[in-house]
């Protein structure tokens, strides 16, 4: 098992000086990626927070080859890079072992980029796709996405007098990806750093496509103090709003089972995006959210240790 004291000695190629918000956990994910890697990495980034905040010309935070081309196509872009690598390697023009990674937010992964992601996975490119799921289009100003939780207020699903926040369920992208019968798809969080490290490592190690969905709380988007990202992540796990599991060769394994599952209000009460749910008139919304969370957790438990795809 990786030890915390070893991590600072690992080769972090994501530099300081980036312009991500104070408290944003995306840099934790990014640094952990490098700490989990023994290989040179080539990275493709979808348009989004990580991209705009790290590569404002003429500066870059990346000491590793990095490419951005558009919003919906990080998986297609990395598949081209990887295809060229395979071609040149076969021709003897390159001999290094290189690993390929694509980063997208939930907008770029769940929604506009889901086709490119599905295609690249189906074609079997050797890459790790990391979705940093902050539950809305944060880079454009907190618009609802397919990953926004039920009931959450965003700028396009506001807590209105008639419609109190988002009225649809979250899309289950991890399962959509697992449905491609790939070797590895998992969910992680920065609150469980060893688990995150190991999952990144596993995704990099194996040959073929791997997918990691990492919850990434958003200080301005979720509305909580900037020193609480890890704590909020922890509450997401303890309330099983964000269950930690992996699907390896089709077998689902729950990686963490809280001793005592906290009610979802323990997660929601710290965030302004759920503030309207405290109103008596929105009690049903909160109950529905809790019901959905229970339901998903029950489902995961029913398939824990079993072959699901």
């Amino acid at each position: 098992m990786v030890r915390a004291k070893d991590l600072p000695n690992r080769n972090n190629l994501f530099t300081s000086g980036h312009r991500l918000c104070a408290g944003c956990p995306i840099p934790i994910i990014t640094k952990m990626l490098f700490m989990a890697s023994d290989w040179p990495l080539v990275i493709a980034n979808a348009t989004g927070c990580l991209e705009v905040a790290t590569t404002i010309y003429p500066y870059t935070s990346w000491n590793t080859p990095w490419i951005h081309s558009a919003f919906e196509n990080a998986a297609a872009t990395i598949s081209g890079v990887e295809a060229m690598y395979q071609s040149l390697k076969k021709q003897g023009k390159i001999n290094k072992d290189i690993k390929f990674v694509a980063f997208g937010g939930d907008g770029g992964s769940y929604d506009i980029g889901v086709q490119a992601l599905s295609g690249a996975i189906e074609r079997g490119h050797d890459f790790l796709y990391i979705c940093y799921d902050n539950g809305a289009y944060m880079n454009t100003g907190i618009q609802r996405s397919g990953a926004t939780p039920f009931g959450a207020a965003t700028t396009t699903s506001p807590a209105g007098k008639v419609i109190p926040g988002k009225s649809q369920k979250r899309k289950d992208l991890t399962f959509i990806v697992a449905g491609h019968h790939i070797e590895y798809a998992a969910q992680a969080t920065v609150a469980k750093w060893q688990d995150l490290h190991d999952k990144l490592r596993k995704g990099l190690e194996l040959k073929g496509p791997a997918f990691l969905n990492v919850l990434s709380p958003c200080v301005p988007g979720w509305g909580y103090p900037e020193d609480k990202s890890v704590e909020i992540s922890k509450l997401a796990v303890e309330t099983v709003m964000w269950p930690l599991y992996e699907i390896e060769k089709g077998v689902l394994k729950l990686n963490y089972r809280p001793k005592e599952i906290l009610p979802v209000t323990e997660f929601t009460k710290h965030q302004t995006r759920f503030r309207h749910l405290n109103k008596e008139s929105n009690k049903a919304v909160l109950e529905e959210l809790q019901k959905q969370v229970n339901d998903y957790w029950d489902f995961l438990n029913s398939v824990d240790g079993k072959r699901i795809v």
Partner: protein, 393 residues
């Protein structure tokens, strides 16, 4: 030694790709360009080329993968048509903005709606501002020769821009034509080894590509692109010069046919030039002279050269196989008229929109155009600046 074969435009394009032997092709099928990648897939699966073929799930991903592959540091090709090109639209600008020398065969087809699979140039004309060099081809032979030259043009260090090689859907893509293939070895020597300047896969010298450039830098990037486009004109001529020297095949920015013999000229792109040449020959037999200027290079637009060629004519009719709805005319006429505007004495420049969605351009259409031009020269009767022909009212 060359090899003369009977093949389709698509077959010739696939054969050029075989000889170019790109490192990666990422493509998605669309009529009428599908056969290019079908034929090429056979070369891949028979182990004749080194290419890694990426059979993507859309044209958007096709161009995205081409961008990734080209940035990684190798030769990249692809083929598409119509709606496929339209779906790539976002990525076309990114390919040129990132200065990636990708080669794209565009088998010209009408854009929907109504859906139609036949030829016009609305696809390529829709991409005319996307920063891609555009070469047009009358025949399968020209498509083949243009593709080989396109590699040298795109990869030239003074250019580094993607190139679209256009030819007409079905008319050229599916008709059997005589094509004279060069030897594999000659093509290989002509295009040379590709040496990418800053390959992404050089992990020892990491670079970031596709950065955010705001008010403080964006316009400089764009000015550099425009300068590269301007330089491309000379490089296209140089490459054509080399091609002629080595293979004795004549290419330039445009081709003139009976042009200097007449004070009337038609300007057209792609396969319609063949119909017009045929009509010119039949007029000549009757002692009538009509000229043709077939444009090979639409981007960069050879303004100075065209003005020089056209300024002494009395009347010029420009044939557009696409329209710019609500504009003064089709795009080709608009550019030619604009180019001529600052001359003190200029010919009358007018045009037609014709052949949309594959409607044939027939002899009687050229007869009418000639009749108008002749009447203008003889009586000064002014035809409308731009109108549709080949349609039913």
């Amino acid at each position: 030694m060359t090899q003369i074969v009977a093949t389709t435009g698509n077959g010739a394009a696939a054969y050029a790709m075989k000889q170019i032997n790109p490192d990666v092709c990422a493509a998605y099928p669309i009529t009428p360009s599908t056969q290019v990648m079908e034929d090429f897939s056979e070369f891949v699966h028979d182990g004749i080329v080194n290419t890694n073929l990426v059979t993507v799930e859309s044209e958007h991903s096709a161009m995205s993968a081409c961008i990734g592959a080209s940035a990684a540091g190798g030769r990249v090709m692809n083929a598409t048509s119509a709606n496929g090109l339209a779906l790539m639209w976002e990525m076309l600008y990114i390919a040129s903005g990132m200065r990636l020398p990708i080669i794209l065969t565009v088998v010209n087809r009408a854009l929907s709606a109504p859906i139609n699979i036949h030829c016009d140039h609305s696809d390529a004309m829709g991409a005319r501002d996307s920063g891609w060099i555009q070469l047009y081809s009358e025949t399968a032979q020209e498509a083949y020769d243009n593709l080989i030259q396109a590699v040298r043009i795109a990869e030239h260090p003074d250019v580094l821009l993607p190139v679209m090689v256009n030819f007409d859907g079905f008319i050229t893509s599916h008709s059997i034509d005589r094509v004279d293939y060069l030897e594999d070895e000659d093509v290989r020597k002509f295009i040379g080894e590709y040496k990418p300047k800053l390959p992404l896969l050089d992990v020892d010298n990491p670079i970031s590509m596709g950065l955010l450039a705001l008010q403080d830098y964006y316009i400089e990037f764009k000015k550099q692109q425009q300068d590269a486009m301007a330089r491309a004109k000379e490089i296209i001529k140089q490459v054509a010069g080399d091609y002629k020297k080595q293979f004795n095949r004549d290419y330039s920015l445009y081709e003139k046919y009976n042009f200097d013999e007449s004070d009337m000229a038609i300007i057209a792109l792609n396969s319609s030039a063949g119909t017009i040449k045929y009509m010119i020959d039949s007029y000549k037999a009757k002692g009538i002279n009509l000229g043709l200027l077939k444009l090979r290079v639409f981007r960069p637009f050879p303004t100075e050269e065209l003005v020089e060629e056209l300024k002494s004519k009395k009347v010029i009719c420009v044939l557009d196989r696409s329209d710019s709805f609500g504009a003064q005319s089709g795009p080709l006429l608009a550019e030619i008229r604009s180019a001529m505007y600052n001359l003190d004495k200029r010919p009358f420049v007018y045009g037609k929109v014709y052949g949309l969605g594959g409607r044939d351009l027939e002899e009687n259409h050229i007869d009418s155009v000639y009749g108008e031009m002749d009447a203008y020269v003889k009586t000064g009767k002014v035809p409308p600046v731009c109108e549709y022909i080949t349609h039913r009212d």
